[in-house]
Amino acid sequence: MERQRIAALLERYWQAETTVEEERELAEYFRGPGVPPEWESYREIFSFFEQESEVQPGEYLEERIMQHIYPRRQQRMAWWAAAAVIILVSALIYLIQPAPKATMKDTYDDPQQALAAVQKALLTVSKKMNEGLHRN
């Protein structure tokens, strides 16, 4: 039954009288199993067309086109990246920078005098500490 229908469709197909839907039906039939040997060459033709319909451009074509169409997305990304870098760098500079050193001034010109003053100071501290310790 199906074979008769396909034979009739084929007849009209060669006359260029089939509709798109009927041609889809033919393609479907020839894709399936059980195509009689005398129609083998027809199967090859439909298989050729199917194979051709799977041809595709390289995978990056779409990306290349979109880069021309909508580069703003990249631009916006670039701005965000730049902002992030600026914030990061400022933070690093702030963190790494050493605290300003206290500047010292000489108070004595004579080393002997200075030593005496230090000894006096240490003695006073030691005395005060001893007083504190013995108070308990």
């Binding site: 798109v20 090859e44 067309f49 051709e52 451009p57 074509l61």
Partner: protein, 176 residues
Amino acid sequence: MSMSLEVFQQRILPMKDKLYRLAFRLLQNVQEAEDIVQETLIRIWTKRGEWGQWQSLEAYCMIAVRNGCLDRLRKQRQRLTPVREDHAWEVSSPDKDPQEKMMAKETMTRIRKCMDGLPQQQQLVIQLREIEGFSYNEIAEVLDMTMDQVKVNLFRARNAIKQSIIKETSSWNGNG
């Protein structure tokens, strides 16, 4: 603005495979076919203000690619003959045994040679009908033909392909 972008991404960009196949049919060169598709779609994007006036965005894209290719061919013909890329369509089917694979490949080569040897209009009609599934109306619009011309071209092309394969089969039978 974002409306146009949406239309572009949902209706125009998905046509890229179809447009590429049309370009490849005419130019027979992967790189050139891709270039034409890229150039054409970028140009169509720059004309987004006019989209509303076009009857069919799809037909417009197909026509633009066809014209781009014909233009390029015309320029090439003035300089030198185009280079064919025979490897571009080779397919491997690892599930078949070598002899069967070779036979199938030979048949495919025979069909392809026949198709490539057809007059350009017949090639294009076959491409749009058998490979892209276009209606006669759509083909007539894209190829700037009458419906009768579409039908005549399709009739001739189909029968040429049928003949090429029948000849092949009978020559095998004769030898074996």
